[in-house]
Structure formats: C-alpha cells, structure tokens
C-alpha cells in the first residue's frame, strides 16, 4: 500500500462525508486549471470547509510524506494549481464565507474560496470596493489571488493583491495554523507569502483592504489605425503626469475576438483600441480627461468615445475583460502569455512579436495592461494540425525571451507555476534561485507544498545550495523517464 493510499483512508475520518473524492472519473475533472496545456490527474481531491480541516489534511500529508497542492476556482493561467498524481489536491471552493465586514476600519475578512468580485458586491452599496480586479474577477478566488499576487486592469494606479491584503491566516506546510499580518514587526512574512504560489502554505482566512469608491469615474475608448499610435498615446499620457486607473490596449485580432464574443461595438476598422479609465475627485478627473482626450487625438486616434452611463462603461470593459476566453471564438486553441516590458520598449517588443508571427506562421493577438507594460499575447493555434501546438509553444517562449532582452520579466501577474518554471533561469542566476530556495525551505523543509512549481529543478531542502540534485539531466531533456 502506497503512502497516498494509506493517507486516503485516514482523510475520510478528518473531513465531512462527501469531502474526499477518489472516483477516477471525478478526479479527472480536476486535472488542470485555466491552463489546459498541462494536465495531471490528482491522487485524491479533498474539499475542506474549515481551516482546521485544511490543517488536518496538511498534517496527514506530512505524516505520510505525500505532496499537496492547493486550488481555488481553477482559473490560473500558469498551471500553479496543476495537481500531483502522487498527491492531494486541496480545493477551497467550499470555504466561501465572508466572515466579517468592518467598514469603519475599511477591511473585510473572507475565506479563501470567496470570489474576488463577491467582496466588492458585498460592500458596493456602502460605497466601497476591493481594488485589484483580475479579468476573471467574477470567478477567481481570493485565495488564488493571494497565491499568485494577482493583478488586473486597475493595478496601474492602485497596486496588486499584495497592496490590498492586510493579514492572512495560513496553514503552514507542517500543518500549523498561524496569522501573518502587515502590522507584524520584523520580517514581512505576509509579503513573502503573497505570490508564493502555494509553496509556503495555504491561506485559510484573508483580511483585505476595502477602498472607497471614487467620486467620479470616466471611461474612454480611443480607436487607432495601428498599435504603434496607441503605444505612443500611452507613453504620452504617462509622460503628461496623468496616472489613469487603467490603460488597456487591444490589437485588431483581439478586437475581432471580443466583437465575436460579446458584441462590444468597438469602432469599425480599428487596428488598436485603447481603454482609458480615470477616477478620483470629479474636478481632477475632468481635468485629466481633457488632457487624455487631446493626447489621444494628437497621437492619431480617429475616434474617441466616452461612456456616458454605467452600462456603456460596462460594455467597453466587457470587450476587454472577456478577451482571453473570447479568443476561443476565432481559434480552436491558444496560449495566454504574460510578460512585462518597460513601457518605452513596447514598440520594439511588438515589432519582435510581428517577426515571430511571420517566422512561425502562428497568429498572435495582443491584449495589454499598457500602462505598466504588462503584455498578454494570445498565441493562437489549431491543436488538430500536427506540429502547430509545438510551434505555438516556441513562439510563446520566444516572446518571453523578447521581454527579458528588453529588460522586462517573464510574468506580470499570472505567476510562474509549472508553465514558466523553465524560463526562470533566463531571468535569474543559479545563485538567485538558490537564495529563493532557502526561503522556501525555511517554510517547507520537506518540499511537500506544491512541489514542481516556480523553480526549474526540484532541489531537496537542507542541501547546500549549488549542489545539483533532483531530476537527472536526461530526464529533464525528455530523453528518459523516471518511474
């Protein structure tokens, strides 16, 4: 009997009756998250309802030496919640209570399975909202947001998840329940935990900051004939000292997809659209709006539209926020890439992406958080055409090379997960990676929390950094397999 089998027998005793899934057909529905390129059927799935149950599962995993992976809504785009066939998948979808709303102190305490948007919905009537807004905000869980340090269109002005989480109750990899707070003296352990992609533990309760809804919001849509003009407008807006709540850009192909999916009614013939949202005190928004409109027209916008009502604003955003999934309308399969470049490098990187499209015969749709240079190239392919998936994968990787070459990063907000672990050495030296491992090992000396993610080669904790252990080079190269 394997460790996993012995463990499974004991899980039933630690959890409610229907919270342990072992049926192979059911297990397979958990084989991937939002990134379907990587799949692995979990050894067992558990659906705990309390922090104590999560802790009990993690302790049992420790006792049996079985790895565990946490998963929220399964919308991640880097395979961060890819299960382990030899491990336990801990799903937080039943932990979705809003525990406390504390308006005077502008915070809310929620369980990890609560969706990002549900927090805003719970406080909207009182004039507040939760600021980070990933495009999947109606479904993605706050626990997943913490694990990935998720961003969103409005993070340009307001910052990422890490700027809006005040405290977290976590289950450490050895099954202890501890509180981490931004108010703690000493090392910022909460800061280290946020964005650790499930490698330092599992958040079971999260205290988030609530932000006051702005007095005024103006959303405008500017249409350009080409992406270069749009990029120029972005640089000019920032250079003018305006910090919009969001500046989003979509190219012609992304517009086509969004149009097909949600009929967002973007101006016909646009080679690029820019969505600019300004928010804050009314007087400031009005002044900034005049500046942004002028800059857009000076940069060659052939149409500038302003949302007059909340419905019109929602229509403009709908096109942008559904862009990823909407690409499903124009391509059988696609890879959502996530990279960052300095704003000034945008034209060079876009030209490079164009060259890649031609070289490999693969179409790329571009959607970006243009204000902070966060690109989301969508690499389109047909998985029934032999070789096309591989070519798309190559293009996708080359795009990250372009980002790194231009002084950027391999991920802006989707995380490294399993998908980008192999690209880490393109950004970091061996010493850098070893130093990160020391942090990981301090939390998880046995390497049971989401192993195989973030780092390119599994390295056992406790070993001297720099001494390579783990997968054999032949295994890594895909020439041999280990059983």
């Amino acid at each position: 009997m394997s460790g996993l089998e012995r463990l499974t027998e004991r899980l039933a005793a630690a959890l409610p009756p229907d919270a342990v899934i072992t049926d192979p057909v059911r297990l397979r529905t958990y084989e991937c998250d939002g990134l379907t390129y990587h799949r692995a059927t979990p050894g067992v799935v558990v659906l705990p309802e309390t922090a104590e149950q999560v802790a009990a599962v993690v302790r049992l995993c420790g006792e049996h030496g079985v790895p565990f992976v946490a998963r929220g809504s399964g919308t991640g785009l880097s395979g961060g919640a890819l299960p382990r066939t030899d491990g336990v998948l801990i799903v937080t979808s039943r932990m979705r209570r809003i525990v406390e709303i504390d308006i005077p102190n502008r915070r809310a305490v929620v369980e990890p399975g609560v969706t990002n948007l549900a927090i805003t919905e719970a406080v909207r009537e009182r004039g507040y909202y939760y600021a980070p807004d990933p495009s999947s905000q109606q479904v993605c869980s706050i626990g997943g947001n913490v694990a990935e340090n998720s961003g969103g269109a409005h993070c340009l002005k307001y910052g990422f998840t890490v700027n809006h989480v005040l405290a977290a109750e976590i289950v450490t990899p050895d099954g202890e329940i501890v509180e981490l707070s931004a108010m703690d003296a000493g090392y910022d352990l909460l800061g280290a935990f946020i964005g650790s992609e499930g490698t330092l533990g599992i958040a079971t309760k999260i205290t988030v900051r609530l932000s006051r809804a702005p007095e005024a919001v103006t959303t405008l849509l500017a249409a350009f004939t080409g992406i270069e003009a749009g990029g120029q407008a972005v640089s000019a807006i920032i250079a003018a000292g305006v910090v919009p709540a969001a500046i989003e850009m979509m190219d012609a192909l992304a517009i086509e997809a969004a149009e097909a999916a949600v009929h967002c009614g973007y101006p016909a013939g646009a080679g690029a659209v820019l969505v600019v949202e300004l928010d804050g005190p009314r007087a400031e928004v009005e002044r900034q709006f005049a500046a942004v409109e002028r800059i857009c027209r000076d940069s060659g916008a052939f149409e500038v539209r302003v949302a007059a009502t909340a419905e019109e604003r929602a229509a403009i955003w709908k096109g942008r926020k559904s862009a990823f999934a909407a690409v499903g309308r124009i391509s059988p399969a696609y890879i959502v890439q996530d990279g960052v470049v300095p704003r000034t490098a945008l034209p060079g990187v876009l030209a490079g992406i164009d060259r890649l499209q031609e070289e490999f015969g693969i179409r790329v749709a571009n959607v970006f958080h243009a204000g902070d240079g966060n690109l989301h190239p969508l690499v389109l392919f047909d998985d029934t055409v032999p070789g096309e998936a591989e070519r798309a994968e190559t293009v996708s990787g080359r795009i990250l090379d372009l980002c790194v070459e231009h002084g950027g990063s391999i991920t802006g907000e989707h995380g490294v997960g399993v998908d980008k672990a192999r690209y880490m050495p393109r950004m970091f030296t061996g010493d850098d990676l070893d130093t990160m491992q020391l942090v990981r090992c301090a939390f998880d000396p046995r390497g049971l929390a989401n192993p195989g993610k973030v780092f390119p080669t599994p390295r056992l904790c406790g070993e001297a950094p720099g001494v390579r252990k783990g997968a054999h080079p032949l295994v890594e190269a895909g020439l041999a397999e280990q059983f």
């Binding site: 057909v25 979808s93 479904v139 499903g328």
Partner: protein, 416 residues
C-alpha cells in the same frame, strides 16, 4: 455529444459562479466546466458510469452558463445530446424508472392532467405519506397548486381594435391546466393590442419536457405535431407565454435537423415569447394605473435560453403606478427547471429556499413569473418557509389588469 462543441470550451471557468449546483456544492464535476470535461471523457471512451450520469442528471439545464460563457460554448446543445446518451446507455434504479414513467405519461397530456385535479387536492394532505413512499412523490404533492376552474378559450379571439397582427397561441400543458387564467389574460392582452389570436383546440404538448430530458424521439414527435397544428391554423407566428415551451419551440429546427423537410417547416414558424412579441409590436392600448409593487422573477428558459430580460421589465415599468423591484441573485435558477424539482427534490428544495429568501427580501406585493414551473416552485418554497401563500401572477395577468383597469389586489390570489 459532439466533440467539436466540447472542444469549444477553453476551461476558463467563467461559468462556475453562475451554475446553481456549483453554488450549492462547490464541486468541479457539478459545474458546467466539469460536466463538459466529463462529456469529453465519455467521448474519448470512458464508459458512462453511475457517477457521471449522476452529475449530468444534477444539471438543471438552466443555461445560466450559456449566458456567462465568453467562448460561446453551446452547453444547451451539449447537455441535450448528453441527456439522450444517458437515456440510451444508463440503467436507472427501478424506483427512478417508475417515477420517470409516471411523469412522462402524465405531464405532456392535458386530459390526464385534468384527471389529476382531485388526486392533487388530496395529495397535498397526504404529502407526508407520499414523501415516505418516494421523495419525488412528496415533491409533487408539495408543488401542486390550487387549481382554478377550467377556462374554455374560443378557437379565435378577434382583435379589439384595428388589426395589427394575426398570431397563434400555445396554451401549453401545465400552463393550460393549472393556470388557465394566464392563457385567458394572454389572449385578452393580445386582442386589446390589436391581434387576432388563433387558439387551435387540438394542440398538444410542445415537447419541452421530453427535449430537456433526453427523450429525443418523443420530443421530435411532439415538435412535428405542434408545427403541423399551427400550420393548419394558418399562422406564421406563435406566441408562447411559458418560458420552457418557448425555448424548446425556438429549438425545433435543431431538434428536427436530421429531417430537412421538417427542419424547413420548423424554420418557417416564428416563435415569440409574449413579452418579446409585445415589445416588438409596440403598445397601443391604454395602460391604466396599477398601484402595486412587483418583484420580477427571471425564468431561466426566458432569460438565459431566450435572452428575454429587458422586455418584460419594460412592459411592467410602462404601467403607471407600478413599482418594479429586482430580486437579488436573479440569474440563479429557482430549482424548478422543468421536471428537476420532481427528479432531484433535495437540490431543488435547497435552491427553492435560496430563491424564496431573496424573493421575500424584495418585499413586493406581487411576484411576477413567466413560467408555470417557477410559479409552483417558488410558491411551494415560500409555503415551506412558513410564510403562507405568496401572490404570484404572470406578466400577462398584470398587463391584462392594467388594460382593463382591474383592482391589483385581485392579482395572484388563489381562485379555487
């Protein structure tokens, strides 16, 4: 289960929070994304296990996921195809088979429903006993409404002003027998708005229950009969006031796709929901004030399956003195879902309780629902919550009361 349709799903998960069973249980395999994954497994050769069939049966078919999906996945077609596969390949427990046989031998047939009047009245009192015999029987007893006296509609109701249109009216099975006053109100409203209303007396079931339960052959039979009936009546447009029936009639061309001649006849027949039709036609009859607060319930087969959300609200708002209130979580199913509350009574009750709580929180005088199944389900859920009889009316009845200047206090009162 068309593999091409399955491949359209990009696994983004946008459907999850809109799915009633995912909202209840928080499990991947009881979400649309998970069910599509299960369909994919079956197509790839995994046999249809009891577990798989259970997850398909647990789907309400509310189509909220179709509304939410940015990739345009045709989950509606997929689940219909899947239900047919389940019917063919899955062997149900004997008690489930018996209950299904009873329901499908009863509901699509008006005369048989009429014969149920007395047993239904007794059934409510025997609910506890029936519940012990089988939970589905208990659910049926609990749902049974107070049935008013039958209303005989003439085969033709002439326009009451200059004629603007000539339409057929589908009277439906459950609507016709349990809520005959809704059909009468529908005919009056249409006539007052200048329509000749043709009501073919021999019309039968439209096939909605069969179609939504995977009984393909039966659904096609009902569909062909309904098409022929309205062709004989000489109308090109059929107005439907029950959401489930309207949505299945709009699917006739797809249901009959294997038979090009019939598919063409299906396409020639235009189906419109009452609210949709009236909005297109535009109002001419005078609306008299109706001082009443109304909470409008989105029937899934109207809002999600037919995309009809704005029209009924506009019609209601246009009535002077009427105050319209929204129900929180209006996109989540009430648990009725055709035969769902009979075959899956536990889940349906949980959803019904959730809906009843939100309906009551709206604090309106009157609930307006455009589907007989929802009306029965929500009324039963409110009764179960110990809140007595909620007043429920159809959009048609509210309009009828306004056009005729009736007392709104009479709306939604039981007329035994």
């Amino acid at each position: 289960m068309d593999p091409e349709l399955i491949r359209d799903c990009v696994h983004c998960g946008f459907c999850l929070p809109t799915c009633p069973t995912y909202v209840l249980w928080g499990e991947e395999m009881d979400s649309p994304r998970g069910r599509i994954h299960l369909m994919g497994q079956h197509v790839e050769g995994t046999p249809l296990t009891d577990a798989m069939a259970g997850h398909f049966d647990a789907c309400l078919g509310c189509m909220a996921c179709v509304t939410a999906c940015p990739s345009g996945v045709r989950y509606d077609r997929l689940i219909e195809q899947t239900r047919a596969v389940v019917e063919r390949e899955h062997v149900r427990r004997p008690d489930e088979r018996a209950i299904r046989a009873l329901v499908f031998a009863l509901f699509p047939y008006r005369r048989r429903l009429r014969a149920m009047r007395l047993p239904m009245r007794l059934g409510r009192r025997l609910r506890r006993f029936l519940e012990e015999v089988h939970p589905s029987l208990g659910a049926m007893a609990e749902l049974a409404p107070d049935v008013p006296r039958p209303v005989r509609l003439p085969p033709l109701v002439r326009a009451r002003r200059r004629r603007r249109a000539r339409v057929g009216l589908l009277t439906g099975c459950v609507q016709g027998e349990f809520f005959p006053q809704v059909n009468a109100a529908t005919a009056r409203v249409l006539a007052l708005e200048g329509c000749d209303v043709v009501i073919p007396p021999g019309q039968g079931c439209c096939g909605a229950l069969s179609l939504h339960s995977g009984r393909e052959a039966e659904a096609r039979r009902f569909a062909r009969r309904t098409i022929a009936t309205f062709e004989r009546a000489g109308v090109e447009t059929v107005v439907v006031n029950a959401a489930g029936c309207g949505s299945s009639m709009k699917d006739y061309a797809e249901v009959l796709a294997d038979d090009p001649a019939w598919a063409a006849r299906a396409r020639a027949l235009r189906t419109r929901d009452l609210a949709e039709f009236l909005a297109e036609l535009g109002p001419v009859a005078e609306r008299r004030p109706l001082p009443v607060t109304v909470a409008y319930h989105d029937a899934c087969h109207l809002a999600h399956a037919q995309g009809v959300r704005a029209q009924p609200r506009e019609l209601l708002r246009a009535i002077p003195g009427l105050e319209l209130r929204e129900i929180e979580e209006s996109a989540i199913c009430c648990g009725s879902a055709g035969t769902y509350n009979i075959f899956q009574p536990e889940a349906a009750r949980e959803l019904g309780d959730r809906k009843a709580e939100r309906v009551l929180a709206a604090g309106a005088d009157l609930l307006v629902s455009a589907n007989p199944g929802c009306t029965m389900q929500i009324a039963a859920s409110v009764r179960r919550a110990g809140k007595g009889e909620i007043r429920v009316a159809h959009t048609a009845e509210v309009l009828d009361a306004s056009l005729r200047g009736l007392d709104p206090g009479m709306l939604g009162r039981s007329r035994r």
